[in-house]
């Protein structure tokens, strides 16, 4: 290979290597901020700021959804099976919201209760036709359940 081209090839390698290194360092420093939400476990461990706008995410605990009659107020628990945080919310829930389903909610932690201002549904990576779910029985959660 021509020495000039070899030199340029090294420049290319250095550009890619150093820019990757720089970005990796920035992301290491910011890794907590890149996460969209805190799991309940970290909230209970005191790692999430109290009284500040944060997001928490996890599963809506089975049997925990209580709708207040005559209003849009709803209470439910968000769990990651290592910890549970009670949530209160007033507003319209997304269509995919439901017990045993993933959820990401934004709000403030006040006295151990999460006062949500926004509730988003999180769905998983499984896609199945409804007939197959019926054939598997109503209690079947989905095609494949990953071990926790």
């Amino acid at each position: 290979m021509h020495p000039l081209r070899k030199q340029r090839l090294w420049v290319v390698v250095f550009i890619v290597a150093f820019s990757s290194l720089a970005v990796a360092l920035v992301m290491m420093a910011l890794r907590e901020n890149i996460n969209l939400f805190y799991p309940p476990e970290k909230v209970l461990a005191g790692e999430a700021p109290v009284g500040k706008m944060i997001r928490i995410g996890g599963m809506v605990r089975e049997g925990s959804v209580i709708r207040e009659a005559g209003s849009l107020r709803v209470r439910f628990d968000v769990t990651d099976f290592k910890g549970t945080v009670p949530v209160v919310y007033e507003g319209i829930l997304p269509d995919l919201f439901g017990e045993g389903q993933g959820v990401v909610t934004q709000g403030k932690l006040v006295d151990g209760v999460f006062e949500a201002s926004e509730v988003l549904a999180k769905h998983d990576e499984n896609y199945m036709p409804p007939e197959l779910i019926d054939a598997m029985g109503p209690d079947h959660p989905g095609p494949k359940k990953k071990a926790p």
């Binding site: 550009i15 820019s19 992301m27 988003l120 095609p143």
Partner: protein
């Protein structure tokens, strides 16, 4: 190997080759889109949780996948251009930037349309969406740099090649963002290891759509690079011969 490399570096050879391939690849593109979208939108069953709104996956995933794969192609072209100063690599870089920007934009828009009925929001600053936005900005940055330095093409191509190489680090970040951080996006459905977590009746049309999108990328690249060759090499003898032959 070197003769092959030199052949690919020759605008004249590429112009002829692409011209002969174009009709075939274009027809294959339409055929695959037809099969994939027809199957996916009309025949495939709806999803047990998302109902019919999941069907936007047949556009969203193909354009997102190809916008990432296209970046690698662009970065390789950038490296070749920086090391060997190959004209054709520079033309490929410029074309790939514009097509990649369009695909990334489509991925962001279809993602927002999908997000509203399923997640309950158009937009959220999660790692996957934010890194896709960065990808769009890098693509657009390259497109605009070429335009801004249009009167100094030598400089433009070198600056753009460096920007393209620097942006490469973003691609693995986009790909792994759903595994490294907590995000609203779900983990990958299609994996290199193991079966996809999608029923085959929904997965096969998706595969057709992804193939169709790659073919579409090939079609567009050939069209755009040919256009660049015409623009830059119009004074060469072989192009003058072709242009005269057309009259």
């Amino acid at each position: 190997m070197w003769s092959w490399f030199h052949k690919w570096g020759s605008p004249k050879w590429f112009y002829g080759m692409a011209g002969r391939c174009l009709p075939w690849v274009a027809v294959a593109t339409l055929l695959c889109w037809g099969i994939g979208l027809g199957w996916g939108l009309l025949v495939a069953p709806m999803d047990f949780r998302q109902g019919n709104s999941f069907r936007i996956i047949y556009v969203h995933v193909p354009v997102a996948v190809v916008s990432l794969a296209g970046y690698y192609l662009m970065a390789i072209a950038a490296a070749i251009h920086l090391v060997w100063r190959m004209k054709l690599a520079d033309m490929a870089l410029k074309s790939a930037a514009l097509i990649g920007a369009a695909l990334t934009f489509l991925a962001l828009v279809t993602g927002a349309i999908w997000g509203k009925p399923t997640w309950g929001t158009w937009w959220v600053w999660d790692a996957r969406i934010t890194s896709m936005l960065v990808l769009f900005l890098i693509y657009m940055g390259i497109v605009l740099l070429y335009e801004a330095l249009a009167d100094r093409p030598e400089q433009a191509s070198r600056v753009c090649a460096i920007l393209a190489l620097v942006g490469t680090v973003n691609i693995p970040i986009i790909y792994k963002s759903v595994d490294w951080w907590y995000s609203l996006h779900q983990p990958a459905t299609i994996r290199f290891t193991g079966a996809p977590s999608m029923d085959p009746s929904m997965f096969y049309p998706l595969l057709w759509c992804i193939v169709a999108c790659y073919l579409m990328y090939g079609t567009l690249m050939m069209l755009y690079v040919r256009g660049e060759i015409l623009r830059r090499e119009i004074r060469t003898q072989w192009l003058q011969d072709i242009v005269r032959g057309m009259r």
